[in-house]
Amino acid sequence: MPDQVLQLRGVRKRFGDLEVLKGIDLEVAKGEVVCILGPSGSGKSTMLRCVNLLEPPEEGEILLEGQDICRGPGSGTGEQSWNLDFVRQRVGMVFQQFNLFPHKTALQNVTLAPEKVLGRSAAEARERGTALLERVGLGDKLAQYPERLSGGQQQRVAIARALAMDPHVMLFDEVTSALDPELVKEVLDTMRELAEEGMTMMVVTHEIGFAREVADRVVFMDGGVIVEQGKPADVLEHPREERTQKFLGLVLDR
């Protein structure tokens, strides 16, 4: 279907002897917000990292806008630069540990990749970058270094930085798990706005409330497979599978 931005088929990934993804089938439509829940070790992060080829899968297909990014031209020989460029300029990622560049200001963090990778002029990059940082509410922090920003502020810079590359899909890997509780809201609010603007998002998270309110679809993973998925109301209120029930029971404290 032309509407599918992402299609994962039979994706398997192992680390040494340990098989972390045991055959993942998943589709994400344009503009869809998919929240992925599950216990640690379920493979949620690994799946995200396969999508932007930080961890190339052993088996399976990943179609990004119809192109198989696991087997493009020059496949089978180490790093496939065609694929990587294609993927990483369409897929943005925000990390649990922020990974801001400490030797650069907030604005420089946002403008670095557009300048060096997309070849934008310094002025253009700065203009766009400023707009993005204002959009995430940090217009007054352009010249600050990450060490002077709170965790929540840093994460919002990270979001702006990823957005600066005009991605078609945004991946969020437990982006609030490392934050102090009072800083979580500002990041989730930013993500909510992004979703409302129609960004296609895959969000690995523990924030059930966010999933319930913002997600179009909730996916529950455990032991390297997708156990069940569906509308948030369905999966979260009336989980069909026992494993889902157990997990939600623990998380929601029922």
Partner: protein, 247 residues
Amino acid sequence: MSQFFNQYFNFDVMREHFGEVLVGFLQNLLVFAVAAVLALALGLFLALLRQLPGKKLMPIRFLTIAYIDFFRAVPILIIILMISGGVPFLSFLPQEVRIPHWFGRPDPFWYGVAALVIVYGAFSAEVYRAGIEAVPRGQMEAARSLGMSHFQAMRHVVVPQGVTKIPAPMLNELISLLKDTTLVSVIALSESVLVSREVLSERLNSSSLTLTAIFFVIIILPLARVVDKLIARQQLKVTRGSHIEVA
């Protein structure tokens, strides 16, 4: 006891030969300056080679690691003697390379520099590596996720952060290099140790060697203090907010 004092601290001997020992010491400094610049460059080159990613480039990484391991292990004296004993006989090299007299410096100078660069290139490569590897992996991942190539990520994100960890250990290597310039005396470069030994056999007195030692101490002690201060300062630095330790 006074015999000891006379043998090592005869000020007359020191005074009379001060000039020639000083000139010799300047040779040490010159060897050091040339070798240091080249070794630092070679080390960075090797360190970057070693970081090249991908299965295809494995042979390059392997060779680089082999070079570094080998030349960290072999004593410099052996390398110096092998170069000076062997290179002049390599008939396929042109005369100016076999017996170099570049910039007016005699061939032992260049054999010595070559040996020191070969070995200290390996040592400094390891210092660079430690600096680069101290940069959290997440930095590379973030840069790559933003679409930067490996080279761009190294150049703009990893290496600039890596270099801050480098000065203290690198300075230690350089101090070591300065002392090791004395090894070139064994192939008859007129540096301070050789000159001192000449004085020793002439005057039957070791005070010239003491004088040489003093020269080295005067130069190196302040540098060693700088290293100590750099290390202390780094310990105090708070982790910057680029990443958070996840329990």
